[in-house]
């Protein structure tokens, strides 16, 4: 007869093991406070990084190369002790290397934090959390169902720097998406880019399709960024800029080969997202394809913290915004009539549904 007995390696015991389940379990240990401290430090961590960007620490250090704190402080024109404290904080974030008094950009900083890094997020970081003051009033937002300062009050003021800041990442995503969905194989595609921001998807597709053309939409003011970016990338002459609200602007039915909804659905709430999907369906030719990029939470809304926190961010910053699950989006797409759904991930954390209008 088998009798439960102590494991030979007590340090490996967990509250639930193959030998035992349930309570009481004699070597129960209290959980660590690390998650609480991580939350407390979150505020400081973000502002350490933000301050470093505002002070031009990363670009300065790229110019200087490995340097002592004295040299860096001198270049930043700030007191040595304060600069050292800030730099040590950035080192603690694993975004700088430090040996004795010499500080140096690490690979992450070179890639993501210097302004001309290959995947620079320097412009994104100040904007990504939404209006900062809204976070200090989050409880009120939850209680009232509305943020104190929703982005919708001044969308141009918020979205212009946001879409400028996110352009590099989104353009990388859109460019690499060709490896998955091969838009460059299409002959003279007509593209409709709703809520295009800086138009990274349109630019990537037009670069890949020399005979393609695009209708680029965003709010008046925000669309200026798209005009500037398309001109910068040499495709503006193949774009028609159509300013206005993507829920109400005129769209030709059955006209487009590709419709892009790039990171816009999560600002619109469930009804708004469904409406955009339905508009996209109407706009597409038979066999035309929708590319719907966003942050999607998993079915249990807990296994993808990045998307979950993004959902909370939307709640904190907008009147209607939330993140939705893959299941919700796939059902909405099917309800609208789309078939052949695929979920592609051109770069990490950037997922896009690709769906077709039936023949």
């Amino acid at each position: 007869m088998f009798e439960p007995r102590d494991a030979p390696y007590p340090e490996l015991k967990k509250t639930h093991t193959m030998a035992h389940v349930g309570r009481p379990w004699t070597d129960y240990k209290p959980p660590p406070a690390a998650p609480v401290w991580a939350a407390i430090e979150g505020l400081g961590r973000y502002y350490i990084l933000l301050a470093a960007l505002e002070l031009d620490v990363f670009d300065t250090m790229q110019r200087l190369g490995p340097s002592t704190v004295d040299v860096i402080a001198d270049a930043l024109d700030a007191p040595v002790d304060h600069v050292r404290s800030l730099l040590d904080g950035v080192v603690a974030l694993d975004l700088l290397d430090q040996f004795t008094d010499v500080y140096e950009l690490n690979d992450a900083a070179k890639r993501y934090l210097v302004s001309d890094g290959p995947a620079s997020m320097a412009g994104l970081i100040p904007m990504a959390p939404g209006p900062h003051e809204n976070w200090t009033q989050l409880a009120d937002t939850v209680r009232s169902g509305r943020p104190a300062t929703p982005i919708e009050d001044d969308p141009v003021g918020f979205y212009v720097p946001l879409v400028e800041g996110t352009f590099t990442t989104m353009f990388r995503c859109a460019t690499r998406a060709d490896l998955k969905i091969r838009y460059s194989a299409m002959r003279a595609p007509k593209i409709l880019d709703l809520g295009a921001g800086g138009a990274p998807w349109s630019i990537a597709m037009l670069n890949g399709c020399p005979d393609g053309s695009a209708v680029v939409n965003d709010l008046p003011g925000v669309i200026d960024v798209a005009q500037a970016k398309t001109a910068e990338h040499g495709v503006a002459d193949r774009c028609e800029f159509r300013p206005g609200d993507f829920h109400t602007i005129d769209i030709e039915a059955g006209h487009y080969d590709i419709v892009v909804l790039g990171h816009v659905c999560r600002t619109e709430g469930a009804d708004g997202a469904r409406h955009l999907i339905e508009r996209a369906f109407e706009a597409l030719k038979p066999e035309g394809r929708l590319v719907l990029a966003d942050y999607f939470t998993d079915i249990e809304r807990k296994f993808n913290p990045h998307a979950v926190i993004m959902g909370t961010t939307m709640m904190a910053s907008t009147e209607k915004g939330f993140c939705f699950t893959h299941q919700e989006f796939s059902e909405w797409l099917r309800d609208a009539g789309f078939i052949d759904l695929r979920l592609v991930e051109p770069i990490g954390f950037q997922q896009s549904f690709v769906a077709s209008r039936p023949r």
Partner: protein
């Protein structure tokens, strides 16, 4: 003349009886769900007056094969979605668990039907399920409609803390197990029933292992679970208990001759001896071992198991570890893997591989008295292979060609329990015209809902 329902005739009747007789111009007489005679066609035609005669010299007649490990839910509708260059743990925890978690009841029913259709159309008439993920009632309902024989059961575990949708605690797992053994002990005249099926590996506490054992005893069923495909299981058991899985299970009193253990690639000699002494069966899934790189050709002890008296049968496993449910393809691999690994052509000759796919499977499922061979008194689970196909001609050595030449595509007609469920390569029990479209749509819906990206390396235009 004696009245019977069906006389099945063929150029060769592969009986798989104790002397392994192959009858030229043979026939099988069927009344109801039972085989009443096997012999020369001319002899049986002189004795019996059949309501129908099926077959001709164009066909090789064999017993239905027995697939002793197949995931009929969670996998068929996501076939091949998991990249084949995914390490084992990533394969299970990052891909399979999320896919399993988003199935609806209707999709699990459809998934089970797809698996059953593929098995039947490739000559497998009986299967042992790896574990229904969530909706057993719907799955059984779907299987009744298709007409296959099998033993099923819920996916029972109590240690993994997630995902929520099919998380179980010990009490709930035991309750579920008990309930299914009571509610579905015998369905469709015994064609379908439930077993004491655990996920296995390191997912069950000792109390659950023991409860599953006791419930199998109480209800007279077998037990089935996964164990030791990769090093993860033995390493975890050694860390937890100081010894390897088979030793621990033997100490718990789990291992008996009604136990079917899947994989068993990473077992040492001491474990092998314990398994042989207990009389367990092993469900060897060769394609999974290859695709998920278990190392079966390097460290697998299947030849030693057979030599020690362990009954080794064959499974096709899930459609992301092994994309097909055609047991003839898996049997082909069984015949070949160890020939090459040991540089010894006497490893698993075709005849032995085919025994493993029929009689071995029947023994694993504790049905050796009713299926696995064409003998008087056994159930009429019969397959007709069409030899008017290039891979079957010339037909000079039927056993060799069943394993090395043919595959399930040559299966023409299939009987289960005396009922013709496949005729001329088409299902008689369901409408295949709409079936595959439903499967396609369901597969796309499941993968889209799962949140797992399409990792196919070639662009889709």
């Amino acid at each position: 003349m004696i009245e019977i329902d069906t006389l099945i005739v063929g150029s060769h009747v592969v009986t798989m009886n104790p002397t392994r007789d192959v009858i030229r111009h043979g026939a099988v007489a069927v009344r109801g769900n039972e085989i009443v005679d096997v012999g020369k066609q001319s002899d049986l035609e002189a004795i019996y007056a059949p309501k129908q005669t099926v077959g001709s010299d164009r066909f090789v007649v064999t017993p239905g094969m027995v697939n002793t490990h197949i995931h009929i839910t969670g996998e068929p509708l996501t076939r091949g979605y998991v990249p084949d260059d995914t390490p084992f743990e990533e394969n299970v925890f990052m891909w399979l668990c999320p896919l399993y978690s988003v199935f609806t009841a209707e999709e699990e029913r459809l998934s089970a039907q797809l698996a059953a259709v593929e098995m039947l159309k490739s000559g497998t008439t009986t299967f042992l399920e790896a574990g229904t993920i969530r909706f057993l009632d719907d799955v059984i309902d779907g299987l009744v409609e298709v007409g296959i024989r099998g033993r099923v059961g819920n996916w029972v575990w109590d240690l993994p803390p997630e995902p929520d949708v099919y998380k179980q605690n010990t009490d709930a797992a035991i309750d579920m197990l008990q309930q299914q053994l009571v509610d579905h002990a015998s369905v469709a005249d015994g064609r379908l029933g439930t077993w004491s099926i655990l996920v296995g590996h390191t997912t069950a506490s000792d109390p659950l292992w023991k409860a599953a054992r006791e419930l199998a005893d109480e209800h007279g069923t077998g037990m089935s679970f996964h164990m030791s495909p990769a090093k993860l299981d033995p390493e975890a058991f050694v860390a937890e208990f100081g010894h390897r899985p088979m030793i621990h299970l033997a100490e718990l009193g789990i291992l008996r001759d009604d136990v079917a253990i899947t994989h068993c690639v990473q077992v040492d000699d001491q474990e092998l001896a314990i398994m042989a002494e207990a009389g367990v069966s092993v469900a060897h899934c060769p394609t999974t071992a290859l695709k998920v790189s278990y190392g079966v050709t390097q460290i697998g002890k299947m030849p030693e198991m057979v030599k020690a008296g362990v009954n080794v049968s064959i499974g096709t496993d899930g459609n992301n570890a092994s994309n097909y449910s055609d047991l003839m393809r898996a049997t082909y691999l069984v015949a070949g893997l160890f020939k090459d690994a040991r540089q010894d052509p006497q490893m698993f000759p075709a005849e032995m591989a085919y025994e493993m796919a029929t009689l071995g499977g029947a023994k694993t499922m504790r049905m050796q008295d009713t299926i696995g061979s064409l003998e008087v008194g056994k159930r009429a689970d019969i397959v007709l292979h069409d030899t008017d196909r290039p891979e079957w001609r010339p037909l000079l050595n039927v056993a060799n060609q069943l394993v090395w030449s043919a595959d399930g595509r040559g299966v023409h007609t299939v009987f289960v329990d005396g009922v013709k469920v496949v005729e001329a390569g088409q299902m008689t029990t369901i409408d295949e015209g709409t079936f595959y479209d439903r499967c396609q749509r369901a597969g796309e819906a499941i993968t889209a809902r799962s949140g797992l990206p399409d990792k196919a390396k070639w662009p889709v235009l």
